[in-house]
Amino acid sequence: MLTMTDVREQFRPEDHPHDHFLLTTVVGSYPKPKWTDRVRDIHDGEIDCDASFDEDHWQEAADDAARLITQEHERSGLDVIVDGEMRRTEMVEYFAHRIDGYELNGPVKVWGHNYFDKPSITDTVEYDEPWLVDEFEFTDAVADRPVKVPITGPYTLTNWAFNETDRTDEALATDVAALVNEEIEQLVSAGARYIQIDEPALATTPNDHTIVGECLEVIADGIPADVRLGLHVCYGDYSRIYPEILEYPVHEYDLELANGDYEQLSVFTEHEFTKDLALGVVDAHTASVEPVSQIKANIEKGLEVVPPERLTISPDCGLKLLPRDVAYGKMENMVKAAREVEAELDAGTIDVPARAMQADD
């Protein structure tokens, strides 16, 4: 039987400098280099351009961008990296293009002049071709560090779509969960060991945690025990979903908390946090790089909830809306802060309130 710690220890770098290991990673998305966006526009025919530019050219450009950003993540010192989702457009739209039963009819407003191509589900959803296996295999081949694969979760994939079918929203989410399960099986066959389900729609509607729980049971079914499963949730009211979510069949919860200045932290200390916590320690919505000292203080907030062997260090959310230098600066300072906290933990100069709390139980 693998313990939670084993599932995590596989990601400890061989040359890790400390006894303590605060796994550092990111949520997923990262600012695309400007040329990637322009090249995509040319490829999609959105910019009038005489230059010949075919599918192979676009693939080459996407590979270059993915290689560049993968290496940018490694350079920042992260323990587990992603490719910054260079090939993806928007987190629902990208998958809607790949799942039979989804249809896209054009952009709808989110706020101001921010739109997304909200898809309609018009027919039975079915698995056609792999969604992310090529992306993973490419990133894994160019990376020296372990690669995490973020996948938009079934609740968000259905809740952020129009349901034109006769199925209930809940039944549709479960249908999509079966497809996510199939995709993860393919990813695992390709060598993936760290999967993150993104459910930003969770914690926005009362009782949605029940639907997400049922979906995760479907998603985790048959996935090998050494594959680390995480769940990313952002900007919701966590008291609506906690402690219920601890029952989910995942190892780790990745939560946005820095943006709200840890106001919601008490939600997680009232009831023992029995899984791993991936704590947001830098704000994905402010375009300035937090100093290392600030991030260290944020990491110590996490130690109020879980002991260091169950604490993962991560930004609040995907970094894609930030200027690229700011996004990089946040990752770099985050890693520095984590390494400094590890050294202080090794030296015994930092308190771990979560450990004291558990000892009291």
Binding site: N105, G106, K109, H113, F162, E164
Partner: protein, 333 residues
């Protein structure tokens, strides 16, 4: 004979070309949203977009034509968000939807601004012109007060503000007052009469027919009873989200002689068949034996900005076609 009038509750999506032109001109950030002092370039795009949606409504054959509320970046909070004595702060969730608006904080007296009237005046001559306004309670619910001090004073001030705004309107056939907050965050017993008074204040400021349209569900029965006290001409019912409770409210408390029947889903791309719309109207009439409706405004249950452009246009077409309604059963009216 019931008079079936094809209408919409406004709050339209921008045409796709205007979405990109305005995004390029205005930007994507919070500080780039409409504040009532937009440039000539931006105004020109809105003018073209407004003309386009008016032409599209005429082409569909709707009986009521709206200017589309295309400038309302903050949806129903718009008239406050552009006001000189209102500050806009963080981006917050708009009801239970995946939409966001800037929180309007009222920091000074809500004097007349004329913003909505200016948009209506740019329409020119259109027969069947319908104005769309946020209801006073929804504005109250979406905003924060740092000026009036207590809830009764604040809701009354918003009522006076809206009354002032519509007094500047050009001649319109009807005014639709959108009140989703009456469903989403119903006023308590002490506030409900004040809400009814505020709605009354607004409705009394115009000679046009006033339709108060709550949505995202049915009204709590007490709130419904209070709403009937207001001097409005028609009440709207969201038969898409909660047809049973809507029906119960009508049968238990009666309603006005005119209703707006929200029988087309403003938040789903599935386009209703005209026959389905007729069945829904039949269903409402068959199941309200004590009611006798002079007019039924056939409309969408919510504003239409949730939809992509192509489906929005398809909904306009079916709503217009649904006004060709033949009496298939003998009713009590």
């Amino acid at each position: 004979m019931v008079n079936v009038v094809a209408s919409t509750p406004g709050l339209f999506p921008l045409p796709d070309w205007a979405k990109s032109e305005l995004a390029d001109l205005k930007g994507h950030q919070k500080s780039d949203l409409i504040d009532g002092s937009e440039s000539e370039d931006v105004t020109a795009v809105y003018d073209r977009a407004r003309s386009a949606v008016i032409e599209r409504q005429k082409e569909a054959g709707l009986d009521r034509i709206v200017e589309g509320q295309l400038r309302w970046d903050d949806m129903l909070a718009h008239p406050l968000c552009v006001h000189d004595n209102v500050e806009t702060r963080g981006i917050i969730r708009y009801y239970d939807n995946n939409n966001f608006y800037r929180e309007p904080v009222v920091t000074g007296p809500l004097t007349q601004s004329g913003d909505m009237a200016r948009d209506l005046n740019r329409v020119g001559g259109v027969s069947g012109l319908q104005a769309v306004i946020p209801g006073p309670y929804s504005l109250f619910d979406l905003a924060t007060d740092e000026q009036y001090g207590d809830e009764s004073a604040f809701i009354a001030a918003i009522g006076e503000f809206l009354a002032g705004e519509i007094s500047e309107f050009p001649s319109v056939e009807t005014i639709v007052m959108l009140e989703p907050s009456l469903v989403e965050a119903p006023p308590d017993d002490s506030l409900a009469p004040r809400v009814s008074e505020a709605i009354d204040t607004v409705a009394s400021a115009t000679d046009a027919s006033v339709i108060c349209q709550p949505y995202f569900g049915a009204l709590d029965e007490k709130v419904h009873a209070h709403l009937l006290d207001a001097d409005i001409d028609a009440v709207g019912y969201d038969f898409i989200t909660d047809h049973e409770q809507s029906l119960y409210n009508i049968n238990e408390y009666g309603t006005k002689s005119e209703i707006a029947a929200g029988v087309v889903d403003g938040q789903n791309t599935r386009v209703e068949e005209v026959s389905t719309i007729h069945e829904r109207i039949d269903w409402v009439r068959e199941n309200t034996p004590a009611a006798s409706f002079e007019t039924i405004y056939v409309t969408a249950n919510t504003g239409l900005f949730y939809l992509p452009e192509s489906r929005f246009e398809a909904k306009l077409d079916v709503l217009a076609a649904a006004s060709e309604y033949e009496e298939v059963h003998a009713y009590n009216d």
